[in-house]
Symmetry: C2
Subunit: 444 residues, 2 copies
């Protein structure tokens, strides 16, 4: 089983203080082993606000990781919207509601005009699952093309197109993997080869689906041949599905959507995580003809999907993104972070490529940049040490990529310059410490 | 495509008043045809409380249909719990949280001791999808047995075991259908035949999954041969999954769970709709060994699943079920309803079998009970007229079953004796009207 970095290892339970250990033991018994915890020393939070979380002892943590509370933990406008709507009415979409129409029209207005229809779900997994159903229905195809370390969700169907899950969740026979768009990779060539392989096996392509920031592949903001790849899939009868669950809602600092940065218009778009700032709401948006055909032929009703409270949460979240100019903030503070990370790289040989857009930045850690460039060996061990070291300094971070060596800088969007400087200082110190520790270890 | 009763037909848009029509048109454009509306005259609610909903003109409706707001629309304790937790902290399960453990232990305590572990999702569909993944992983089998008009959800995998969806969503080749436990049906015989057919086709059974009140099949509280059916599946290497999304959390008036009424202990239990009184939370509970094995081999993380706000909603909902003695209320008011419905049947020849437990009652409408008993022809047309007639009288109801002729009486659990009497009176009047109308039509 592929293991992302920095999970707590239950075998180390005896290293924990008594009360943490008691919680960890209860958790293992009640929730089972799927419920993995972050960090060598798991952390328990009791309060959150903006870009900060607090533990039971009142210690403040800087959140450089969580993209779900996108407009900030417990944003008062989102909280008030949820509370007010829950106290008033929460039903389902088989009664008329005006709020869902107002919000839908507003949200669709942020996408290219071709994408005119929306269907609501509760999670990104459900959105991906529905998007694939729509694409297969529209095309008559079954083949799906994804990147080699893609993650799109956890339903049976979507786990089968998520090679990053690894292990027994190996991808389905109708899935083809293409290399992520790393430096020097021609994305279109990979996609054309995948199409040819599908067709050689008698499988008609239904869709190319990509996370437009390629988060689980290691964060790739630039994609050579993206437009040609999309054109090739369409020429083969398939659709282009943009998975905007991670990049969407302004995180990349250049507009609302990741696909916008590439000048592309998808056939289907999925959104999730940040949509309701933590409230379970997600959606599929598509060219009307696809949703029309699907809705005519297939019965689909999502009990909680698009209910008034979910819509109120999404409405307030979108309002805050605009009113607090969070896209501009993502652009500006993201640029400041990139500059600071580049400065850090100049004094830390283990820092490799730094890639990102807005407030989604990947920082590669490598064995020894100077010695082995350009194909520096991934340094998962150091990434693990840095993520755990930062946690001890009360800064929350994680790592991603097929080798778990890419630090994932992905804070709530109201991340300030002061937050950025605090993070950069702690990262610099942690890298110094972790590098010294590994040198000492090596010398012993 | 199988069509449940009483949906609005968009072809009749011109019969609507101008403002309703404007909403219906916007809705068709923005949400597409999957978003079907209830009733000939769709209704727009602006407020809910307890067993009542109000439209924009201030008219009060009695809710005899909605099982999701199980402890009553906008219950103040649930609303307060959501508001308070949302204002404090809403993260995910990779940090330690005590609330999720307290709630999980409490909830698991209401199930047989063998079922000791829980995993959280956001919807019943996700829960069913995860339950099947666990069952297939545990057994090595792929075959699934469901009832002939079963509905278990809308992910790709779960739609494939939901024959009630009909049309292009026909069941997968690894699915076998068995007759619902109507009077005279030996449920075990059907399941044994399904097992034999799977095995004859080289498909190893993974699970028998049933909604323990058989809601979409037409509501069947008594099941001849249920225990033998479960034993047969286990003997063939499969598991018994109880889908408690509809019957669970006390609706049947005889304890928390539908399977309890049959003296059975499932291997896996799925819960959803009423769990958080409308907040998107659902779960899979299972014998620990199955979740242990799955969690060891398969990566599964549900971003919103079991987050602190969802848990707070579920916590408050369960507290209200107990503190307001809603299971007793379901039993007592349910019995009162059954008696009242029986009285109504004595003066309406079109009322056939009345089946139910607690506040889940199915009322068959038939062509002419006197003439053709015991196999009275289902009367979908009358059911449609009754559901729409009740809506005009501001009483919300629906119909189910393979022939859409079973009135589904399934109100929020705080349904009072006064609510019951109001419903019974309106149903009696509506039946009289609808029968007279159909007689007049027939005479013309």
């Amino acid at each position: 089983m592929a293991g992302p970095t920095a999970y707590f290892n239950p075998a180390n339970a005896e290293t924990l203080d008594a009360s943490t250990r008691a919680l960890v033991d209860r958790r293992a018994r009640v929730l089972g082993p799927a419920y993995r915890l972050f960090y060598e020393h798991p952390v328990q939070f009791v309060r959150g606000r903006g870009t900060k979380l607090w533990d039971a002892e009142g210690h403040e943590y800087l959140d450089v990781y969580n993209n779900v509370p996108s407009v900030g933990h417990s944003h008062p406008r989102v909280v008030a919207a949820i509370a007010e709507q829950a106290a008033t009415l929460n039903t389902h979409t088989r009664y008329l509601q005006e709020g869902i129409l107002d919000y839908s029209e507003d949200l669709l207005g942020t996408l290219p005009a071709d994408i005119g229809t929306i269907m609501y779900t509760c999670t990104g997994s459900e959105a991906g699952d529905l998007a694939l159903r729509i694409a297969k229905h529209a095309t008559g195809g079954t083949g799906v093309i994804v990147t080699s370390n893609a993650y799109h969700g956890v339903t049976t169907e979507i786990a089968a197109i998520s090679p990053s899950l690894g292990g027994v969740d190996s991808v389905a026979p109708w899935v083809r993997l293409v290399p992520a768009p790393a430096t020097g990779v021609d994305f279109a060539a990979g996609v054309r080869a995948a199409i040819a392989d599908l067709e050689a096996n008698g499988i008609r392509p239904a869709a190319l689906i990509v996370d437009t920031i390629f988060a689980s592949d290691g964060v790739y903001p630039e994609v050579a041949g993206f437009g040609e790849a999309v054109a090739a899939v369409r020429a083969a009868g398939g659709l282009f599905i943009a998975d905007e669950v991670q990049p969407g809602f302004g995180r990349l600092g250049t507009g609302m959507w990741g696909f916008d940065r590439h000048g592309l218009v998808p056939d289907i778009v999925t959104v999730g995580k940040p949509m309701g700032n933590g409230h379970p709401i997600a959606a599929v948006m598509a060219r009307p003809e696809f949703i029309e055909a699907f809705g005519r032929d297939v019965r689909y009703f999502n009990t909680f999907g698009g209910n008034p409270v979910s819509i109120a949460a999404a409405r307030a979240t979108l309002d805050v993104v605009r009113d607090e100019r969070l896209i501009d903030n993502a652009r500006d503070v993201g640029a400041h972070l990139m500059a600071g990370l580049t400065t850090i790289a100049s004094t830390h040989e283990a820092v490799g490529e730094i890639r990102g857009a807005g407030l989604f930045i990947g920082v590669e850690l490598v064995a020894d940049r100077g010695a082995v460039e350009p194909s520096a060996a991934p340094n998962e061990k150091l990434a693990l040490a840095v993520v755990n070291g930062l946690r001890e300094r009360r800064v929350l971070l994680s790592a991603s990529g097929p080798d778990n060596n890419v630090l994932k800088v992905r804070p709530p969007l109201p991340f300030s310059y002061a937050d950025a400087d605090r993070f950069l200082g702690e990262l610099d110190a942690t890298l110094t410490e972790a590098t010294a520790a590994s040198t000492t270890t090596a010398a012993n």
